[in-house]
Symmetry: C2
Subunit: 286 residues, 2 copies
Amino acid sequence: MSRWAYVNGRYVRHTDASVHIDDRGYQFADGVYEVWAVRGGRLLDMERHLARLQRSLGELRIPVPMRDPALRTILEEVRRRNRVRDGLVYLQVTRGVAPRDHAFPNTAPAPSVVATSRAIDIDAFEARAKVGVKVVTMPDERWARCDIKTTALTANVQAKQAAKEAGAQEAWLLDADGFITEGASTTAWIVDPEGQLVTRSIQDNILPGVTRASLIELAQAQNIKLVERPFTPREAAQAREAFMTAAGALLMPVVEIDGHSIGDGAPGPVAIRLRQAYLAFTQGQA
Amino acid sequence: MSRWAYVNGRYVRHTDASVHIDDRGYQFADGVYEVWAVRGGRLLDMERHLARLQRSLGELRIPVPMRDPALRTILEEVRRRNRVRDGLVYLQVTRGVAPRDHAFPNTAPAPSVVATSRAIDIDAFEARAKVGVKVVTMPDERWARCDIKTTALTANVQAKQAAKEAGAQEAWLLDADGFITEGASTTAWIVDPEGQLVTRSIQDNILPGVTRASLIELAQAQNIKLVERPFTPREAAQAREAFMTAAGALLMPVVEIDGHSIGDGAPGPVAIRLRQAYLAFTQGQA
């Protein structure tokens, strides 16, 4: 089956999908992105991702390429053309093509818009969630504006690779004071010894996670107390449970940190309950 | 006249020069670059740039795409095809094309290699050097590995644009202690009240500037004392002279910082002398 991509106004075969070498996304990482989880053919948390995209574009002062309904149509069409039932939709928007110069072009080019979609192995994904994953910690070397979802992911790539080589599935990054900021591509959570859900505040130089925001609502609906504060690897190792969230991971239990088992080394009841609630919630989305 | 670019093994018309949307340079800023100044048809400081490219690739663990002589041939050919006498040659190397995933691809793809060249208005450039430029300072929001010349330039773009909007030509970036690290795309220098040349050490999270390295040799040959240490905007405002270096700027006098004139508000004698020495040195390069 052919894969399709949307590139600057056209649906093209994925193998032929290209951007100009002077695209500022390529030369300057002058762009932002979003990833939607797809379940049962539907893009989850559509509105929250679109809202975050707008915010990221605004922070970098990249013009909005089109209105939300037009973007929605593209995202859904690219999913449809790739016949993705369970998987991801990826959207990237950059400042566009211009002769190379650090400052914004004097005449704003049209922003570049690229969208792709691909299926995931949902059975393997569910199997992994039943077992949980391992994380390792390392210094957070990223820039001062991690609240913007830019494609300047060099540090994230290096961290993820280091985690992989350490036999783990994610890197939890440490700020200068030794607190966990977030994962290389996920939000970090623990359930503390009192049963409270703990995650870092989005005021504290982390990405405002979309799945994080939905999960907070679901936790509140279940009367699970949430504390937004930084926590250490030591606290995580001594926590009842830990997990990570993201569009790609949904809610993935974390059962080991830096070689220390968390809880009894298996996904905990709060993680399992919230994961089910999130899946049920997403089934209910229009 | 047609412009030409080198893209992954072929010389193509610049308008047609493209890379795949799954190039990791586009999606992750998982790549590095170099810029050579061209004067009189020759690429300046060829070897030092090639050495730094190798180092950057090594730090990100991107395979070296080809040996230096082959790269040299491409760089010189792309200059020749574009008939550039005075200008720039740009080279970008990324980890290559692979399905999107933060960690390195399990099977390493061929690195992507893109090279372009363009002329500058040498008369306008020389005229600007006679007058000098203005800089403004702002917080350095970049990541912890500014010694690697990656394309993750989001922070640099924002800083350069802010400088431009403030009526300046460069942003000098400030670390958490209020010291200048470097410019958004240049190395920062002052001549202190004792006539000593002062620039930050490359051990201190800045790019190891190629023009910087050549200039240090030329200063030593002229018995100008060099002190490698951080300096503040206040010191710069009270300095005898200031200037910035880079392949694009060569040596550009800085005559104003944050609205304060430096020295008598005109390019100083040390900057002028070193600029002439650098131009003479580059004439002499084979």
